[in-house]
């Protein structure tokens, strides 16, 4: 599954418990943004990171032009093991993970589930799209205001020269993405985020309910936009509750009703009422 440039194994262990996790990084980021998560989940789940072109190990490649083009390539790479993975996308990555789930479903190879984090459902305008929002100055301000990027990295001209074009390409792709699927997906969806996320207020996470027939609710932890990228235990709790692991075998999702109290980790679990 890692023969494709789109997928990189994250972490130094290779657990074979299923389902594994496929991490979709936020705008401008590389697969390596999921390394801390993979380390935190070590020994429990295999974690693959989606490596977008035009950065990191794919720095020499041109940027992708659209979410759909990225989804087609990622879905092809994931197809052999789609049933055995849960997609986890953060912000821009949530949009892409959603489109990958839809693409695989269209190939009759549905994934085990979709966890969308720190972003609203397609069409809610989370991402800046106006050309003047995409100048170097605006992008630096964008990174600075979201937190999650260390100030010394933001201040490094060489690094920003490599990073900003990738960020610009992702924002352009995400901002022009249109969800064209008429039917709801059958893939189970959980939306998670930080209670104090200044970028995407937690209440907006419920917008994802409209995209799926199998809505498993919203889960919120104390924290900001990037909490779930730094707190592997919180993510592990969400995954264990909805997609408990089985050693190399088939797995049956339990859904939100059968929960294991010992797996509960998020400080605060909120479920928004249906039909809101």
């Amino acid at each position: 599954m890692t023969g494709s440039p789109w997928l990189r194994r994250l972490g130094r262990t290779e657990p074979d418990a299923q389902p594994g996790v496929v991490f979709f990084p936020p705008a401008g980021a590389s697969a390596s943004a999921g390394w801390a998560l993979a380390t935190g989940l070590a020994g429990t789940r295999a974690v693959l990171g989606v490596q977008y072109p035009g950065r990191g190990p794919r720095l020499r490649e041109p940027h992708a032009r659209s979410v759909r083009a990225m989804a087609t390539a990622t879905a092809a790479a994931l197809a052999p093991d789609a049933h055995a993975v849960v997609l986890f996308g953060h912000s821009f990555g949530a949009l892409l993970a959603y489109e990958v789930a839809r693409t695989l479903e269209g190939m009759a190879l549905p994934v085990a589930g979709l966890v969308v984090c720190g972003g609203s459902a397609p069409g809610r305008g989370d991402l800046p799209t106006h050309p003047e929002d995409l100048s170097d100055t605006a992008l630096l301000a964008f990174l600075g205001s979201r937190g999650g990027t260390r100030p010394d990295l933001l201040a490094d001209d060489d690094l920003m020269r490599l990073t900003l074009p990738a960020l610009r390409a992702d924002l352009a792709a995400g901002g022009t993405y249109v969800d064209t699927h008429a039917e709801r997906t059958r893939t189970p969806v959980v939306a998670i985020g930080g209670a104090a996320d200044p970028v995407v207020p937690a209440a907006r996470l419920a917008s994802w309910e409209a995209v799926t027939d199998t809505w498993w609710g919203t889960e919120v932890v104390d924290g900001d936009h990037f909490s779930f990228l730094t707190d592997a235990a919180a993510l592990a709790a969400v995954l264990d509750r909805h997609w408990p692991t089985r050693e190399g075998g088939e797995h049956e999702p339990r859904g939100p009703s059968a929960t294991t109290p010992e797996a509960r980790r998020p400080v605060q679990t909120t479920r928004f009422p249906r039909g809101e």
Binding site: R12, G56, L59, L153
Partner: protein, 72 residues
């Protein structure tokens, strides 16, 4: 010397066949590696060199060339 810089910055043992990204390297690690090499050898590899040549042996060779050019 380059090996010990990688080992410290990536917090793991490093062999010639290792790849920067497979060892968990990211932007912050790359900057730290370039800064440490500059501090110890007086030459600073470009960040891009590490991204373009993520294999340890290849990168170490390039740093070696850079250091020799600087002393000529």
């Amino acid at each position: 010397m380059v090996r010990s810089v990688w080992r410290d910055c990536l917090d793991t043992d490093v062999t010639d066949g290792d790849d920067f990204f497979d060892l968990g390297g990211d932007s912050a690690t790359a900057l730290a590696i370039c800064a440490r090499i500059e501090a110890e050898l007086g030459v600073r590899p470009e960040l891009r060199a590490l991204f373009d040549h993520p294999g340890f042996a290849d990168f170490a060779h390039r740093v070696d060339l850079l250091a020799r050019e600087a002393t000529r």
